[in-house]
């Protein structure tokens, strides 16, 4: 690649939001694409290989949708940073600019700015047939002449025109295009011209007046300038007083006057009726009363689907992995290697893959809502409500998805462009009671709450469940409120967004979205999850030299003394082994810390192991209480319920202990996968660790108050 006249073989795909850019990207690159982040920010960077008719491969990067080179969000900032820095690594040799033919005037603004930066650009005029059915048509040839930019008509949905586009890319890449735009899109005032002249004298790499103007506008934010350059430029700016916003507005207005004139000239007059579907549907979907109700119905449906449709495939995955583990143990025999592979690596891998059905379902449904254009309506409807606690209209999607699983929910926050609102959403989503808390709730609620019904209607247990969910949601809202007060942001918040016309979701885009989410989850979070599982496996299977052997012998002796059968003996051995393992030592070491909450060392062990995932709590309790079958929830409950506290002679799992434990699981961040995914989404360990500390701290305090309070009241 890239040998030709110093070119790097790099193409940027740029356009306004909703210009059909991503669809075109999928058509251009097919499956040859990669998803990552732009350096230093968590803005998604999709890149892929594009093959020219002559066989050359170029790299094409799909940039976030942007309205102009005056960025108002981190997404837009990325585009600006790349395009304004000719010395940067991502600076493109060529831009494919996608514009929606229906809104040509608006979309030509950014094109005219890019043109003035001197980057070779091709205009891909998108959705020609949608425009034509609305009575809007253009003479592409005269548009190309007027703009001085090669123009290709494409259809992002069908991929029509991509062949011609690639031919044009090849020609432009090889330097075949010499037309200049007709007429200047804007003129700077004499004062600004003086400033520009001085800046160009200072920065040798600036070859265009407009580049210099952009530097003047964004001087304080350009990370790629040297400190001494910034210092000298500041002095220049002091000589030439410059009101950025006024100059910006003047520039945009001039450009639009120029563009309006071009669009009037190349527009082929025709009459036609506008697609009225959108306004009819929106009469109900954005209705002041029906709108929110319909949204809640959609969410309930998504929640139900993610919750119930995933059960079966999740069971399959779990079964496959337990079979595989059994197979390994059978093939290798007992030993550290087979245990490491089966109980450490495979269990960890299973722990990663078991989330895939939920991730696939959630993102499939969310992609449908996004692609159809509905999501923008939800944001419009809930913007105010969410903004009150520092969230964004889009946060509501994450919060509701969180009732199924925090992992896809955290990943879904990528659609929130304001980074502070996104961060807060990520931080509070794990407070929402997810499906992994259910087994723990079921065990403890059964232990704590009698089976009766309130007035014969709703059971006490069901009401307790509901209370736990409400508690989690309340914690999320309160947490958002607090984080919103603590975090500072330079980004102005805004709603101002397009409500695109409704359209039938395109399967290609839906499939690509789901695929890239799943792939990035497995790749990024998977590594951490497997690592932590191996550590936990080690802690639960090993101990100080000799201790495990001794524990096994003690257990065996006790089993023989009591005449236990083989299964019960195995269970007793397992119980003794986990008690004496490093995890058991950790649990016992934790006891002084958790005793004020009413927890003993057994719960301590379960807290350690269930850090892998909350539902592991039940399995660990089963092992500790030496119950052979993990699935036998009733017998665990009976054993736990029957246990007496030697100090008081009363039941160990009395109301204060059970409630304290329940509350702990409502609030605590007992989930390594969530931590892994938050680390991936926030780009570092800082936020997941803060989140872990805050959630665990809160859980501790709440449990402490509940246990001590209830005990003091004599329960």
């Amino acid at each position: 690649m890239g040998g030709v006249h110093g070119l790097k073989g790099r193409i940027a795909l740029i356009g306004n939001p909703n210009s059909g850019k991503s669809s075109l990207f999928n058509h251009l690159t097919g499956l040859r694409q990669k998803t990552g982040n732009f350096p230093g920010v968590t803005v998604e960077r999709r890149s892929g290989a594009l093959r020219l008719p002559d066989g050359q491969h170029l790299q094409v990067v799909d940039f976030p949708g942007t309205y102009s080179l005056y960025p108002t969000s981190l997404d837009e900032r990325v585009v600006f940073d790349v395009l304004s820095n000719p010395r940067g690594a991502d600076y493109p040799d060529l831009v494919i600019y996608v514009a929606d033919a229906l809104r040509l005037d608006q979309h030509l603004l950014l094109l005219s700015q890019i043109r003035d930066l001197g980057i070779p650009v091709i205009l891909a005029l998108n959705l020609i047939d949608a425009a034509a059915s609305s009575g809007v048509r253009y003479d592409a040839r005269s548009l190309a002449t007027r703009l001085g930019v090669p123009t290709i008509e494409v259809n992002g949905r069908t991929g029509e025109g991509t062949g011609l586009l690639l031919q044009q890319v090849e020609q432009l890449y090889n330097g075949v295009w010499t037309e200049q735009p007709q007429g200047a899109p804007f003129m700077m005032s004499p004062e600004v011209q003086d400033l520009i002249r001085d800046i160009r004298a200072e920065l040798h790499w600036v070859t265009r007046d407009f580049q210099a103007l952009i530097v003047a506008h964004h001087l304080e934010e350009l990370t790629y300038l040297q400190p001494d350059e910034v210092e000298r430029l500041r002095t220049i700016q002091q000589r030439h007083p410059f009101r950025s916003l006024t100059v910006q507005v003047e520039e945009i207005m001039q450009r639009f006057r120029h563009i309006d004139q071009i669009v009037r000239e190349v527009r082929i007059p025709e009459t036609g009726d506008r697609n009225a579907l959108t306004s009819r549907v929106d009469r109900i979907f954005t209705h002041v009363v029906w709108g929110p109700i319909i949204f809640v119905v959609f969410l309930l449906f998504i929640f139900q689907a993610v919750f119930s449709w995933s059960t079966l495939p999740m069971e399959w995955i779990e079964r496959i992995f337990s079979e595989l583990g059994g197979g390994i143990k059978y093939a290798l025999g007992e030993g550290w290697l087979s245990s490491l592979l089966a109980d450490g690596v495979l269990a960890g891998l299973g722990g990663v893959l078991v989330f895939i059905p939920q991730i696939v379902l959630l993102f499939f449904l969310i992609a449908l809502l996004e692609e159809s254009g509905y999501m923008a309506r939800a944001v419009y409807l809930f913007d105010r409500l969410m903004r009150k606690v520092g969230l964004n209209g889009r946060s509501i999607v994450a919060l509701v998805s969180g009732t199924a699983c925090a992992i896809p929910a955290v990943m879904s926050t990528r659609t929130i462009t304001n980074q502070k609102e996104r961060l807060i959403t990520i931080l509070v989503t794990p407070f929402i009671s997810c499906s992994a808390r259910l087994p723990v709730y079921a065990l403890l609620v059964g232990l704590m709450v009698p089976a009766g019904k309130v007035m014969g209607l709703v059971s006490y247990q069901a009401m307790t469940f509901m209370g736990l969910y409400i508690l989690g949601a309340g914690a999320a809202m309160a947490g958002a409120w607090v984080f919103n007060r603590m975090l500072k942001t330079a980004e102005p918040g805004y709603l101002l967004m397009e409500l695109p016309d409704y359209q039938v979701p395109h399967w290609r885009n839906v499939v690509f979205t789901v695929w890239s989410k799943v792939a990035s989850f497995v790749r990024e979070a998977g590594k951490i999850i497997i690592m932590i599982s191996i550590v936990l496996w080690f802690l639960a299977s090993y101990s100080l030299p000799g201790r495990m052997t001794q524990a096994t012998e003690t257990a065996r002796a006790e089993a023989t003394a009591n005449g236990l059968d083989e299964a019960d003996t195995e269970a007793l051995i397992a119980a003794y082994r986990i008690e004496n393992s490093y995890a058991g030592m950790l649990g016992k070491g934790l006891e002084p810390v958790i005793r004020p909450l009413g927890f003993d060392w057994k719960i301590g062990i379960a807290l350690v192991t269930s850090f892998a995932a909350r539902e592991v709590f039940v399995g660990t309790m089963a092992t500790i209480y030496s119950i052979g079958s993990v699935d036998d929830e009733t017998s665990i409950r009976q054993k736990m319920g029957a246990e007496l506290n030697p100090a008081t002679g009363q039941k160990r799992y009395n109301l204060p202990v059970a409630l304290s434990l329940l509350l702990f699981y409502v609030f605590a961040m007992q989930c390594m996968s969530t931590i892994a995914v938050v680390k991936k989404e926030t780009g570092g360990w800082k936020w997941p660790l803060i989140q872990l500390a805050v959630m665990t701290g809160l859980a501790y305090v709440v449990s402490l108050i509940a246990y001590q309070g209830l005990t003091a009241m004599g329960y």
Partner: protein
């Protein structure tokens, strides 16, 4: 001339022409999205308590907040 009013003061269902865009953190964005002087817009509906506005402007719809609507000075069409 009628009394000056902003898009936030307009009744739902009315068509107005934008006369001026006031300076506001979102000014650049408003202009770049095509909400600029001369543009004719219809205020279609509002969310509860007039927090957000659904507006229509030539081939597209927008959702905007009250303070953004207040930056758009408008006049009624005849």
């Amino acid at each position: 001339m009628t009394t000056p009013l902003t898009l936030a003061d307009v009744r739902p269902g009315c068509r107005v022409r934008i006369t001026r865009v006031e300076e506001h953190p979102s000014t650049g964005r408003l202009l770049a999205m095509g909400l600029r002087p001369g543009q004719i817009v219809t205020l279609v509906r509002r969310t509860a308590f007039g927090a957000s506005f659904y507006i229509h402007a030539e081939f597209q719809q927008f959702g905007i907040r009250r303070d953004e609507a207040e930056a758009l000075w408008v006049e009624y069409m005849d």
